[in-house]
Amino acid sequence: MIKCYQAIVFLLLLLSLVGCEKKYEAPVPSLSWDEYNAPGAIPLTFRTRQAAEGVYSVTDGADMFGEQVALKWSFLIKGKDTTYYLSAFCEKDVSYIVLEGKRAHQTLYFEGYWRKIINTETGIVRFTIAADKGGKWLSADKMPVQRDSIIFSGVFGNNQDLPLNKITFKYQRPLNLKPLAILAHRGGGRTSDLLPASENSVEIVKLASRLGATGIEIDIRLTKDGIPILYHDNSLNLRLTQKNGLVGPIEEYTYQQLYTFVRLINGERIPTLAEVLDATLRNTNLSFVWLDTKYVGSLQVVRKIQKEYLQKADAAGRKLEIVIGLPETKAVDMYLALPDYASAPALCELDMETVRQTKAQIWAPRWTLGTQLDAVVQMKAEGRRVFVWTLDVPQYIQQYQEEGDFDGMLSNYPSIVAYYHYTQL
């Protein structure tokens, strides 16, 4: 039989494993470039920004970011100020670059950071477009018409190191602008992907466009006092929240308790659905919100908020769709119990017959079933759109775009969906 000391030896071996799990981090580097912050530098105009978008070849730095990148602008509204971001979506290791730009005389300056989302690699990146490399042209608000007419010349570094590695982008062609809904999972991405904001937070929703998203999927639960909030897991846990002493199902706590005691992993509060829709409407140009109902219960309160924000979007002249997600039969039952369900925009993840029963405008099959071309064509013939979820493997994303016929794609990596979409010929 197992003797006492043998058990102790084994226990010590087990204990030696405690703490073996490495904690990964990928903090966004802080930026300070004198040229970029020079007093004479001014913001870029709409025409300049528009002209700089496109597919670029990577002539220096291809081993790090791939052979080509797609450059696209997004913006974030903060009160009366609007900040514009130029994102570069790259294929290699699902990397992306987020930049802000200014102009001084006929030279354009861009400063930002790069990140490889599948690992923790990140760093500073700086670009200039010299006057004779397209800067003069862009400063005069003229559109480029030929290859190599705009050249981003820059440097990048690792983490907080001074950027010294050469990187060059050369303009090749305009972006593919065929419509595709690029939806970011959990508001923009998972907490496990070490983004600078926590999943299902207001902050990640504000970041989503920079990551390539044109829309978001968010997870809805109800607090004990019936307030719809954003949270993915069944229970409060250290995967998503900082240490706070509260445990158990989130539905057992009132909103005030959660507001007071709980912070998400990056320090944000758990937001209400209304807060997130408000931020989506007022601060971003996201055009689609998928409300993934994670609770079992009446959808009345969610429907009320959906209706309210659809009306607000209409009033503001904003193109914004908000759909109730129906991931399982219980949610379907709750949806059909709504008095006005026929007019409540919905997205159904179940089989085609259930989609027809719910009259959902969007069918969302799981990606693990394949491209299902025949079924997709059939659903589209019935006037529905088809969004596939949740697709993260880059090669499959490429295949599904090339061989499938989807109207939208949900991913934790919207930047790689954007890359394959915008660079498609």
């Binding site: 043998q6 030896v9 290791d93 846990n237 394949g370 491209t371 493997v393 090669q395 499959y396």
Partner: protein, 259 residues
């Protein structure tokens, strides 16, 4: 249908050549084999205890088998809030070849996904209590998942060069520490009619195993171990299509009865 082959330029600093590792292993084992054949005196099996992991020549014994379970704790990065210990049936067999060499075969099965490995060991006693072995295993895995929302299957090849160090605490208690490298040589997955393949040529991870082997009940012997894997690919989670390119920690508990 397209086949995508991922070139692995990244991780240049930690990259090791998987196929080269196999070639090197083969050469080393060939030399060791010749050396062992040339030894004039056959090693006596001075260690009578039944063992599977303990690195020691098998002596007169031709076969040794154990059956048990391996529990792998699901990593938070991949399975998020769902953290359970997923058991796999573990059949482990040794086959004596000569005074120093033996074959090591292992089948791990979770029905929908299975892993079969076979490798060779060269074991050598250093002192009456201390011994070691070097080995190299080739593993093949395959899985299929055809449920309501899944239409997936996959397979792949792995290589595990390994070194074990054994210490006899008392006559009836054997402690083994094994360290191994993990090379994911090839993996393919199919979703519906779509397929992707990876041909890697680099070190994907490492594993460390501590095992106690001892008498248990009615002349049976028991294996109790822990294995810590740090790898960016684990065949047991192929169906989740994890995309993380970082080492993830997979703790495993090993239980087995030596037959």
């Amino acid at each position: 249908m397209l086949t995508y082959v991922r070139s692995s330029i990244n991780y240049a600093n930690v990259k090791a050549k998987g196929k080269n590792a196999i070639t090197t292993s083969f050469t080393v084992f060939l030399l060791l084999w010749c050396a062992s054949l040339s030894m004039a005196q056959e090693l006596a099996d001075t260690l009578q205890n039944p063992r599977i992991f303990f690195p020691y020549p098998m002596g007169e014994r031709q076969w040794r088998t154990s059956i048990g379970l391996v529990f792998t704790t699901t990593p938070q990065d991949i399975t998020e809030e769902v953290r359970v210990r997923v058991p796999a049936i573990d059949l482990h067999t040794l086959r004596n070849l000569n005074s120093h060499f033996y074959l090591d075969g292992q089948l791990k099965s979770q029905v929908i996904q299975n892993h079969l490995s076979i490798g060779i060991r060269w074991a050598h006693p250093i002192t009456p209590r201390l011994s070691f072995s070097v080995g190299d295993d080739i593993g093949a895995w395959f899985g299929f998942l055809k449920l309501e929302s899944f239409n997936s299957r996959g397979y792949g090849w792995l290589n595990y060069p390994n070194i074990s160090l054994g210490y006899r605490l008392k006559n009836d208690l054997l402690l083994t520490f094994k360290t191994e490298a993990i090379f994911n040589l090839h993996s393919s997955s199919y979703v519906g009619d779509n397929r992707i393949s990876y041909n890697n040529n680099r070190l994907n991870g490492v594993g460390f195993t501590w095992v106690l082997e001892q008498p248990f009940y009615n002349k049976t012997h028991f294996t109790l171990g822990v294995r810590a894997l740090y790898t960016d690919f684990n065949w047991q989670f192929w169906s989740l299509h994890a995309t993380f390119d970082r080492k993830i920690f997979y703790p495993q508990l090993i239980f087995g009865f030596i037959l």
